[in-house]
């Protein structure tokens, strides 16, 4: 299961939003990947997410697999939109 977002925050996903995203998914059991520029990293890894260096305007795909994948993706969507990081696409 997956969802895609367009990042609109002017600084992209730097430390603070990365921290928010990673901490929002760690409670879930499902495996979750963040795909950007054909590169996939574990969304539960703060290092992995920050190393992607996702800039404003980027389109990212979040792909989850596991028993609570739907809840996880809803949570991610909530964080991205509420924190003004990006929009659904």
């Amino acid at each position: 299961m997956e969802k895609s977002f367009k990042i609109t925050a002017s600084e992209g996903i730097h430390a603070r939003p990365a921290t928010l995203l990673v901490s929002s998914v760690t409670p879930y059991q499902a495996d979750v990947q963040l795909i950007y520029n054909n590169k996939s990293v574990n969304l539960k890894s703060i290092m992995g997410v920050m190393a992607q260096g996702i800039p404003a305007g980027a389109v990212v795909t979040i792909s989850a697999e596991g028993s609570d994948e739907a809840e996880l993706l809803n949570k991610v969507e909530e964080v991205i939109i509420k924190q003004g990081l990006g929009e659904k696409c």
Binding site: E11, H14, T19, S45, M47, G48, M50, G53
Partner: protein, 569 residues
């Protein structure tokens, strides 16, 4: 018992145990292991301990300093629990190396990866990785890291040097004083110690090497010495002295409500210097009649990005509102020199004090400057705002800065935003060129404020951070005194007021001279306000005006010092 000499940077006496902020030795050997399972368990145990420690630090930072500082530790927790890093560590340990070695390799690899990134901001994340890995390594080695944010009993901090960000995290309730290896009277740790009203001895060169963590020590901020492991007798005599000082402080309290008036009835303004809006409380508690210097750069420091207009507006509004109509002089951004902002990505310079800083930067990066000016103008309706520009060297700079201010004001007026019509626009006189042509500046500016810390270092060409030339940092040097006289006379000849916001304004030798020269406003650390007001009440302005003529003819700094001391006796 042992005595260590240093520079007394902030008055007072403190008795407490030493708290050493020394980097402990975290060296280890690479070992070939046989039991992989046991090694992984050891790593897991260290991670659990580190996690508890970080959670503890995060929670106490949240309580004491708010969410912004606590967020750093939340990020550290995520790094610690990063599944990718953990698998990498696991894989490394599976190659039969000890956990310490595996950690060093993996953390080093990640840190390097971030360091090699283009983005400056990402580069700095390498420091977070190193910080977390250091904490974890200490747990693996069973070594306790000193942690200043968790201090919960009375201590005296002993460190090589204190950065503004470290001092900002110290809890005033428990920190009784500072001892540092490097630094002088005007280094940041010294200024902050005075702002916190605690004694400090700086420039001891060897304190961190000679004082061990937990030793009982005494700092004598009058004599500039640290006593380590005092004898009972010495300890008792210092306790007595400490008591006497507390009593003196009590006596000074009667000056809180009294006007700043000389014995012959001449009044001046005694104001306080602040770095953060909350410092206003100390100014008011000590009976300050205004804020003579708000160092706004502190709003820009210890963060990842520029403060927004709204954030600044709130800070300025808070200061102005708390001052309830008393004057508040705000200095626009003075960054550069020893005060860096990593996120501005400024290239390092050979001579930062003579380089791209303060108004020079603001006049080029006008967006940064305009944001600050707008925030100030919007806040102006909440009190008695005066704005001054730092590091002005030429008349053109002053005119350009003032033009930008007036432009922003017009824009706000056009947008129908309320702006005060009474804002005075002045400047710092801290570069000798500005002091020499103060008469020309006084025609353009509403007021002048003499910044002595820089004026002295530029006049004597002596870096105030360099201990080897600190003997040249001479506030009573005849050249400095004559420049000050020129500035005061120039302002008065043009009907303008003149203040001083350097450390000199609260100095007991300088105050009689400055009063004699006719200085209107004395701005200093809040802790010096009452002592200065008490001193002032014993001086005669009329007599000093005569005596100062003689002072200005003296040949050396020490002659001046001696002469003024004799006057008082």
């Amino acid at each position: 018992m042992l005595e260590i000499k240093g520079v007394a940077a902030s008055n007072g006496i403190a008795l407490a145990n030493a708290y050493c902020l020394v980097e402990p030795d975290l060296s280890f050997e690479k070992i070939e292991i046989t039991n992989i399972e046991a090694e992984l368990d050891r790593l897991q145990a260290a991670i659990s301990k580190t996690k508890l420690e970080l959670e503890d630090i995060r929670d106490s930072a949240m309580l004491k300093f708010g969410e912004e500082r606590a967020a750093i530790f939340s990020a550290h927790l995520l790094i610690l629990e990063d599944p990718e890093i953990f698998s990498a560590l696991e894989a490394k340990i599976n190659e039969k190396v000890n956990a310490e070695f595996a950690l060093d390799e993996i953390a080093g690899m990640y840190a390097q990866m971030f360091e090699s990134m283009e983005n400056e901001y990402m580069k700095e994340r390498a420091a977070d990785i190193r910080d977390v890995s250091k904490r974890l390594l200490a747990h693996l080695l069973h070594i306790e890291l000193p942690d200043y944010s968790r201090i919960s009993s009375e201590v005296i901090i002993v460190a090589e040097d204190l950065t503004p960000s470290i001092t900002a995290q110290l809890d005033k309730q428990y920190v009784k004083g500072f001892v540092t290896d490097i630094g002088g009277k005007t280094s940041h740790s010294a200024i902050l110690a005075r702002a916190m009203e605690i004694p400090a001895i700086v420039g001891t060169k060897e304190a961190t090497k000679t004082i061990s963590h937990g030793s009982p020590i005494i700092i004598d901020g009058l004599d500039g010495k640290v006593v380590v492991h005092p004898t009972d007798e010495i300890y008792k005599s210092y306790r007595l002295l400490e008591k006497k000082q507390t009593e003196e402080k009590e006596l000074l309290k009667k000056y809180i409500k009294l006007p700043s008036m000389s014995a012959d009835g001449h009044t001046v303004e005694i104001a306080g210097n602040i770095g953060k809006p909350e410092d206003v409380d100390a100014v008011l508690e000590n009976g300050g009649e205004g804020v003579g210097l708000f160092r706004t750069e502190f709003l820009y420091m210890d963060r990842d990005e520029l403060p927004s207009e709204e954030e600044q507006f709130n800070a300025y509004k808070m200061v102005l509102a708390k001052m309830e109509g008393r004057p508040a002089v705000v200095r626009t951004l003075d960054i550069g020199g020893d005060k860096e902002l990593p996120y501005l990505n400024l290239p390092p310079e050979m001579n930062p004090f003579l380089g791209y800083r303060a108004i020079r930067l603001c006049l080029e990066q006008t967006e940064i400057f305009r944001t600050q000016l707008r925030a100030l103008l919007r806040a102006s309706v909440y009190g008695n705002l005066k704005i001054m520009f730092p590091m002005i060297a030429t008349l053109d700079e002053f005119k350009a800065a003032k033009a930008l201010l007036l432009e922003e004001k017009q824009k706000l007026v056009d947008e129908q935003v309320a702006v005060s019509e009474q804002i005075e626009i002045g400047m710092m006189v801290e570069i000798p060129s500005a002091a020499v042509i103060a008469d020309l500046f006084a025609q353009e500016a509403d007021f002048l404020s003499i910044g002595t810390n820089d004026l002295i270092q530029y006049t004597l060409a002596a870096d105030r951070m360099n201990e080897r030339v600190s003997y040249l940092y001479q506030p009573y040097h005849p050249a400095v005194l004559r420049l000050i006289k020129m500035v005061i006379d120039a302002a008065h000849n043009n009907g303008k007021w003149v203040g001083m916001c350097g450390e000199m304004a609260g100095d007991e030798i300088a105050v009689p001279i400055l009063l004699g020269l006719g200085l209107d406003e004395f701005s200093m650390s809040s802790s010096s306000i009452l002592k200065t007001r008490s001193l002032l009440s014993k001086l005669s302005k009329e007599k000093l005006a005569e005596q100062v003529k003689h002072v200005l003819m003296l040949k050396t700094s020490s002659e001046v010092e001696q002469y003024v001391k004799n006057l008082q006796n």
